[in-house]
Symmetry: C2
DNA sequence: TTATAACCCGTACATCGTACGGAAAGAGAG
DNA sequence: CTCTCTTTCCGTACGATGTACGGGTTATAA
């Protein structure tokens, strides 16, 4: 059983170190099939509804069969993450660091829009697979020209990626919100009660700016503009480091 | 049953609109008790282990009793979030927008360190309670001096808060990682296999910078410095908007 | 004292991840 | 071709979770 025999790292790099053929009953599915089915499942139903039973069903296989190829749910998710990063589309980085970093941001946003569950996954611990490492290597090239220490370069990249992540989540939330309910419905449901509490008078700034932000969110074009604004702020901040080295 | 009778907004503002006393058997617990127990539970055990059964147990009450005071798990979490924001410590904002925003960041970081689960909670939809609104109102004062449109002001604040959030998660992850396992243990477990795959030669940038970033993470002081670096970048980026209005 | 309203909560169900162990299936030896 | 051995497949089972339902309990108001 691959799932119990080999560690996560071995499984992540399975294409570079294929296991020697073994005697006995041959497997009906492969790790790749499990990972692909997992990704399709997560893409389609979302992370909240993601379950091993559904993945197994998609493969036409019993649930416990999965455990012969993958150690557990958490490991499968790690493999899925690395696979997505491996399959990620990108252009080889060119131009100034600023252009490269903007491209990195755009490519990551595209990745998270193709696989929204990636933005909802908790991946504090790094996934040390070929996809993740290759992506990291490529993206580091964008911050390499900056006059920063190594740790700061990592931090600069992480800053951009974390921004893109939260931006992707916000854009997704806005998308479903738009399709879920019109502002009028929302008002009928909650807004009226809030008004009765005198919220507008007691929280004038919050009301004014909150409304503007809400309207911007509801207009798809403005939501994109908000993303661009945030990214520009970030890049300008990094440009400051470029001009005046620390 | 308060949990089914009133909506989420009513429950959030329960202290301003206390329900009139009602005939019948008096309740043994209050919404506040449930919310407080929930916060203690989440603080102590973490969000992953958070369950209604445990909250009920802490209150010395059956699980289903909770449903008499709160609609469901998701609503309880919303109430907990708003309560934390209401109890959050803060100094009234003074100084330049930059000083105020730095203070907002520090206060939010403190909030997330006191209640780490807040950083792991998915709160795309705003929680429209007194805690959240008050916090938003107060924090908007920091970006109000900036020469930006209303939507951009919200975006600027969100940018800082999202950074603090991911920073808090990184700091927490580093903390548990430090206590979990020494770098030597890690190397024995995974690093050796990676080296065997020729990772250092194939991903030189990633190896060099990844190592530097890892070491910085492992030194508590450097991890804090990384946070400061990110915040400075952000604020510098916003300062650009200050100098040259859009 | 009685009626009534409200609350408490035991039971039950669907769903989840996953441990265990036996059935099944192919490969190689004779 | 048959037997044996190795490996894979997966049914069953367990504990945990959120929550629907309905009956027992306990106050207040008449």
């Amino acid at each position: 059983m691959e799932g119990s025999r080999v560690g996560t790292v071995q499984l992540l790099w399975r294409h570079e170190r294929p296991l020697p053929p073994r005697p006995g009953r041959p497997a009906t599915i492969t790790v790749d099939a499990v990972v692909d089915a997992g990704i399709e499942e997560a893409d389609g139903r979302g992370l909240a509804a993601f379950s091993l039973r559904r993945v197994a069903e998609r493969l036409g296989v019993g649930v416990m069969t999965l455990y012969g190829h993958v150690a557990n749910r958490a490991q499968l998710l790690e493999l899925m993450v690395d696979q997505c990063r491996l399959d990620m589309e990108f252009a080889s980085p060119t131009g100034s660091w600023r252009e490269m970093l903007a491209q990195v941001a755009a490519e990551n946003l595209a990745l998270l829009e193709r696989h929204p569950w990636l933005a909802h996954l908790e991946t504090e611990r790094a996934v040390l697979g070929p996809g993740t490492l290759g992506k990291y290597e490529r993206e580091l090239a964008a911050v390499e020209p900056l006059p920063l220490g190594d740790a700061a370069k990592d931090q600069a990249l992480a800053l951009v990626l974390s921004f893109v992540r939260s931006s992707a989540r916000a854009l997704e939330a806005a998308r479903v919100e738009r399709s879920d309910e019109t502002p009028e419905q929302w008002w009928e449901r909650e807004g009226a009660e809030l008004a009765a509490l005198g919220v507008e008078e007691r929280f004038p700034l919050a009301s004014r700016i909150g409304q503007a932000a809400g309207e911007a969110t509801n207009a798809a074009a403005d939501a994109r503009a908000a993303h661009a604004f945030g990214l520009a702020v970030l890049l300008d901040g990094l440009a400051e480091r470029d001009a005046e080295p620390v």
